[in-house]
């Protein structure tokens, strides 16, 4: 069969055909073509959120502050020549006059040493009641507190994410049973259980001597265990809820309809929508872990003795408060700064990354 062509060089169409009749179209002008140009760079979810985060002055200040604190706690112990449990001594002789010195002062022995031509690193925050350099102790305390907060949050995140996503994906009876378990753990009074478990673990856990864990002491290990046992339920609930609601969205259905594999759906559609919630609640978990640690330090269940934490430093400082108020001020200020900046950064991230709040 030979095909007939019309004036435009198109095959002649039957009157019922849906084929496009080119004679009814004009060619695009140059100006119209320019409308198709990409005016702004295509942006990813992460970059978009970061851009909004950078416009939030409080969040930016908190971020800078946190970076400064982290750099300080890494660098300072390399510069300052004192150890956190080191009792001050001059030329190998114990410096008995160096107890409870105010910031930036030297003891008599040190003054004599300097007068004889020696150099002594200044005691920036003074010294404590056992002649130890307080600045180094506060820095190490910050290290311990931040590390406790960070690792406790990671434990919570891991357990909560695995449990919550299994429960959310499976649905049905598995979900029901898993969530009943969560309900029961959730209704236990967490702080009392933390105290109880700490009391018990303090007496029962034996740590290998000389390891980093034994320096922290059984109380911190029990704190981690307790966080792993109790605090993940909030995270698991959150992630399950997120996955359940995102799973029902039309765009997931659309992605399924065009044949996307479940791996792609999870990576491209479900994760970007709940990763912000996960990161934010992890960020907000850190201050709560730091609070819990300082609370436990207060009732005598904190880190092992020579090792300082911000909570235990503040607690020890309460004793000689009227004579040496600065000993409370430094660790207290540090806790406030860390908690405040983490809270503000978390809030800022929620505003920047939560697509539902986008204005």
């Amino acid at each position: 069969m030979d095909i007939k062509y019309d004036a435009n060089g198109m095959p002649k169409k039957s009157p019922l055909s849906m084929q496009i009749d080119l004679s009814k179209f004009d060619k695009a002008t140059d100006e119209e073509k320019r409308q198709q140009d990409v005016m702004s760079q295509s942006t990813t979810f992460f970059r978009d959120g970061m851009k909004r985060l950078m416009k939030n002055p409080l969040a930016v200040i908190s971020m800078i502050l946190l970076v400064v604190i982290i750099v300080t706690i890494i660098v300072v112990p390399m510069i300052v020549p004192y150890g956190y449990s080191e009792i001050l001594s001059v030329n190998g002789r114990r410096d008995k006059g160096a107890k409870n010195m105010p910031p930036f002062t030297y003891s008599e022995m040190e003054q004599e040493y300097i007068a004889n031509g020696g150099t002594r690193f200044p005691h920036i925050f003074g010294t404590d009641e056992q002649s130890r350099d307080y600045f180094v102790r506060v820095i190490y305390g910050t290290r311990v507190s931040l590390a406790v907060g960070f690792f406790a949050s990671i434990i919570v995140l891991l357990i909560g994410m695995i449990y919550g996503s299994i429960s959310g994906y499976m649905g049905g009876r598995v979900d029901l049973i898993m969530m009943r378990i969560v309900d029961i753990i959730y209704s236990l009074p967490d702080m009392l259980m933390v105290i109880l478990l700490s009391v018990v673990f303090k007496e029962t856990i034996k740590l290998p001597a000389g390891s980093a864990l034994s320096a922290l002491g059984p109380n911190m290990i029990s704190l981690f265990i307790v966080f792993g046992l109790l605090y993940w339920v909030g995270m698991a609930r959150l992630i399950r809820g997120q996955i359940l609601s995102i799973k029902e969205n039309d765009y997931v259905l659309a992605a399924k309809a065009i044949g996307a594999k479940s791996g792609r759906i999870i990576r491209r559609h479900i994760l970007p929508n709940c990763i912000s919630v996960i990161i934010i609640s992890t960020a907000l978990q850190i201050p709560s872990a730091i609070f819990t640690e300082s609370y436990l330090s207060f009732i005598g269940l904190g880190v092992q003795a020579p090792m300082p934490s911000l909570g235990s430093l503040a607690n020890y400082a309460r004793e000689g408060l009227q004579s040496y108020p600065y000993k409370l001020v430094f660790p207290a200020l540090m806790i406030c700064l860390i908690v405040l900046s983490l809270n503000l950064l978390g809030d800022g991230m929620r505003d920047a990354f939560d697509p539902k709040l986008k204005r």
């Binding site: 009074p189 259980m193 009391v199 029962t204 609070f291 609370y295 108020p325 809270n343």
Partner: protein
Amino acid sequence: MEKLTRYIIKRVLLAVLTVFIICALTFFLMHAIPGGPFNREKALSATTIAALNARYNLDKPLPEQFLIYVRELLKGDFGVSLKNGREIGTIIKESFPISAKLGLLAVTVALTCGTVFGCLAALTRNRLPDRLIVFFSTLFTAVPSFIFATLLLLVFSIQLGWVPVWSATSHSYILPVIALAAYPMAYTTRLAKTSMLDALDQDYIRTARAKGVHRWKIIFKHALRNSLIPVITYAGPEIAYIITGSMVIETVFTVGGIGSQFVLAITNRDYTMIMATTIFLASLMVIANLICDLLYKAVDPRIQYD
């Protein structure tokens, strides 16, 4: 209505189960600690220990001991303190009223002041009162309670001498209540502010305004009622916070409440006391949470019973 009854029964059963789990956890964990109650510096003779063990049922297998313990608990007998030999039931009876008064005052202050400040902040959005309230509520959520309490005690009791220090003769609740209420108040303020802003954004508010309803009537009759729901929801966790917070506050201000008794028991390793107080306080929290949950469902008819 049937649904509501079923919901109430389910919640009560869950609460009873939770209390039982707490009792079991506490009992078996405390018994996992090595060393019996009669380990003294001066060793007792084997026959004495055996007699004592028989006297306190310690020679029976652990599950049976647990059943005996629960039976005694149900009768209101908490056992005897290991340190001073006093009946724990009496200690709780003496110290709990002080803690209850302190806690109730703190809850009231936190809820009312929090709501008022939150609404004030929402109504003066981005102006000076709002800025001040946001500043202070953010600050108060970043200070550990024992530091705040210590500073209050130092400044107002010791330096300025405005408030007497807590003693057997003078009971001044003002500073402990402020210290205890600070964190939940700051949290309630933030909660009330967001929910008030949410409520003010609703269609029914616009309708009311379009009809020419007076500004204050809109705020009190329409916005406030709906914005109170999240605040009520927070009451349960708030009570739990105040119970644990009171341990610290009572210790700092040397208030002889049940919280400071608990801290003292931990310092003294008084295991029977720790066990009894944990069970008592935990049950209290579970009951408070149950009541709050039921009230919440009663206040908001839109809630689903699942």
